[in-house]
């Protein structure tokens, strides 16, 4: 099956007054229709920077896309003029953001906010768009959608607002949905409902999902494949079972060990990763993880290991061979 979105060796820089920060360094990924790719990593690992780059939503300047390509529908999105890029945003590739409390315009009814992209991309009339918006609200499980469409964001709970965000994103039936930590700002019970909703809609509409998260529980439940990022680089890419069963990059292993587990009787003690994530203003030389890595070799501080395939469908960026 061919991928609906493919990123090859993406490099992104923020040129600030005094410094240049490189939040994305050589990220490659691809996702197929109906597939969910989880992108995981700590804060500052470049997950969200990568996600926003796909739709070119970073303000430029200071942002510059300095290398690589983002392929969707046979085009390189980084080379498209802004006008053509606008026709892709919200239409072929849509995005759901982290905080539903602030991501909706408080002064517009939710129906109008959904109808906006339908009118823009599908040229629907006001009344057609309004009817479609009601339908979109019904699809994301909002009760009484005819009435709710005329209500404003402050009349919705957090979980309901995220459903509205999903309705906006899926209104034009995109091929790719980028979900940037869609459940982080929500209660745990609501989180599960939202992830179930996304999975159900994916089954129905067949879109690919790029799921940005730092919640490995969500990854285990929802993802097909996982891309682990650290310091702006992809460090491990594999099917979800492989990553949990046999991680090949010490960072992935450390990340798994630092999570509470429900399958170990009595609960295993948590094993935090020592140190802090790399400072993007002065990243360490070599592998960005080496200062915190228990298995670091002397050459780790000078060599950046490339992401190479270790087993079919399982790549890792580490000088250590074999599974850990």
């Amino acid at each position: 099956m061919s991928s609906v979105l493919e990123i090859n060796d993406l490099h992104v820089e923020f040129r600030l007054d005094a410094d240049t920060v490189k939040p994305v360094n050589g990220v490659s990924l691809s996702v197929e229709a109906g597939e969910t790719l989880a992108v995981v990593g700590e804060s500052g690992s470049g997950k969200t920077a990568t996600a926003l780059s796909i739709l070119r939503l970073h303000p430029t300047p200071p942002c510059h896309y300095t290398g690589g390509e983002i392929l969707a529908g046979g085009r390189d999105l980084l080379k498209l003029p802004e006008r053509e890029m606008r026709a892709i945003r919200g239409n072929e590739i849509a995005m759901v953001f982290q905080d539903p409390m602030t991501s909706l315009n408080p002064l517009k009814s939710v129906g109008a906010q959904i109808a906006e992209s339908l009118r823009l991309h599908q040229g629907l009339s006001r009344s057609q768009a309004r009817a479609q918006a009601v339908q979109a609200l019904r699809e994301v499980g909002i009760p009484n959608p005819e009435q709710r469409a005329g209500e404003y964001p402050h009349q919705f709970s957090g979980g309901m607002r995220q459903r509205v965000m999903i309705a906006i994103a899926l209104a034009c039936r995109p091929k790719v949905l980028i979900a940037d930590e869609p459940t982080t700002a929500l209660d745990v019970t609501v989180q599960a409902q939202i992830m179930e909703l996304l999975a159900g809609l994916q089954e129905r509409f067949g879109m690919a999902i790029v799921l940005i998260t730092h919640d490995l529980g969500v990854v285990a439940r929802c993802a097909d494949r996982v891309l682990v990022m650290y310091g702006g680089r992809p460090v491990e890419l594999a099917a979800v079972d492989e990553v949990f069963a046999a991680p090949r990059m010490p960072y992935t292993r450390a990340l798994l060990r630092s999570m509470p587990r429900s399958d170990v009787p009595g609960g295993a003690p948590l094993d935090p990763i020592p140190g802090s994530p790399p400072n993007l203003f002065s990243p360490p030389g070599g592998c960005a993880f080496h200062p915190r890595c228990a298995l670091a070799l002397p050459e780790c501080s000078s060599t950046v290991p490339p992401l190479t395939e270790r087993a079919p469908g399982h790549s890792a960026a580490c000088l250590l061979e074999g599974s850990l």
């Binding site: 849509a94 991501s103 408080p106 402050h154």
Partner: protein, 305 residues
């Protein structure tokens, strides 16, 4: 809604009662109108007769009670100087002040809204810097000086526009610019900072992610959110414009409420002074009410709570 209106009307009446009371006593500190009106060679008897005819010989409290009773019947008293009802004198001048206020506000909005938007959208650029520099000049230049300068340039040297007086739309241009310059600077600055805050909001990013252009995201999602604090200030500016621009009206010999206020003070015309103060207070109270109602119109969170 009815409860809200009843409450607001009660509040308005209370404010006007307090203003009328304070105005009544304060104006009497301005000096004696009878002394002012009489020639120096007038006799004591003549002075006493005039005082009695104007009612200023009665006890202060007595005067106050009859003034307040008159107000209940919309009687603002007789202007001592114009020998006509004070209300009538104000109403006669009001159209001119309204003309000037409307022209000044139009100038303010036409200049400040585009300037504020451009400065916010191109934040940090040369355009932003020049807008902000103009704002600084506009806010720190006194109206009387701007007025005189405009007269010098456009009326005296270029002879494009009349220097003073009323009668044609051309007469409005210089006073309206003089009067609107300060508000334009203030509102441009306010809109810029408010819009900069709004443009950083997540819902602007959502709008861009939907495929809206940067321009459309600003106009369809940014402006209305950014206008909330601006509406308050525009309202207060409209209030002060309607209350009469004392300096500008003086510089351009514009016979509106502002000049009338100055005349009333010069002639120690107690009833007229009281009436102009009360008029100004009423304008502000009404403008505030309109601002509150427009909030409800703009923001569903206000309307529905």
């Amino acid at each position: 809604m009815i409860g809200f209106i009843v409450k607001r009307v009660g509040h308005t009446l209370l404010v006007l009662f307090c203003v009328a009371t304070v105005a009544f006593f304060i104006v009497r500190l301005a000096g004696d109108p009878v002394q002012q009106m009489l020639p120096p060679e007038a006799t004591i008897e003549q002075e006493r007769a005039l005082r009695a005819s104007l009612g200023f010989d009665r006890p202060l409290l007595d005067q106050y009670v009859s003034y307040m009773t008159g107000l209940l019947g919309l009687d603002f008293g007789q202007s001592v100087f114009f020998h006509r009802p004070a209300f009538e004198v104000i109403m006669e001048r009001l159209p001119l002040t309204i003309d000037l206020a409307v022209a000044a506000m139009a100038f303010t909005l036409i200049v400040s809204i585009p300037a504020g938007i451009v400065a916010a959208v191109r934040r940090g650029s040369a355009t932003d810097t020049s807008v902000m520099a103009s704002v600084l000049v506009g806010q720190s230049t006194p109206a009387f000086w701007v007025g005189i300068l405009l007269i010098l340039i456009f009326a005296v040297n270029l002879q494009w526009l009349p220097a003073s007086g009323t009668g044609s739309p051309a007469h409005l241009v210089l006073p309206a610019i003089t009067l609107g310059l300060y508000s334009a600077a203030m509102i441009a600055r306010l809109l810029r900072s408010s819009l900069i805050d709004v443009l950083g909001e997540d819902y602007i990013r959502t709008a861009r992610a939907k495929g809206l252009s940067g321009f459309k995201a600003v106009t369809a999602h940014g402006l209305r959110n950014a206008s909330l604090p601006v509406v308050t200030v525009v309202g207060l500016e409209v209030g002060s414009l309607l209350g009469g621009a004392i300096l500008t009206e003086q510089v351009f010999s514009w016979p509106g409420i502002g000049r009338l206020t100055v005349e009333a003070i010069t002639y120690r015309d107690y009833p007229l002074m009281q009436a102009t103060v009360l008029f100004l207070a009423a304008v502000f109270v009404i403008v505030n009410l309109v601002v509150d109602l427009s909030y409800a119109l703009l923001d569903p969170r206000v309307r529905l709570s």
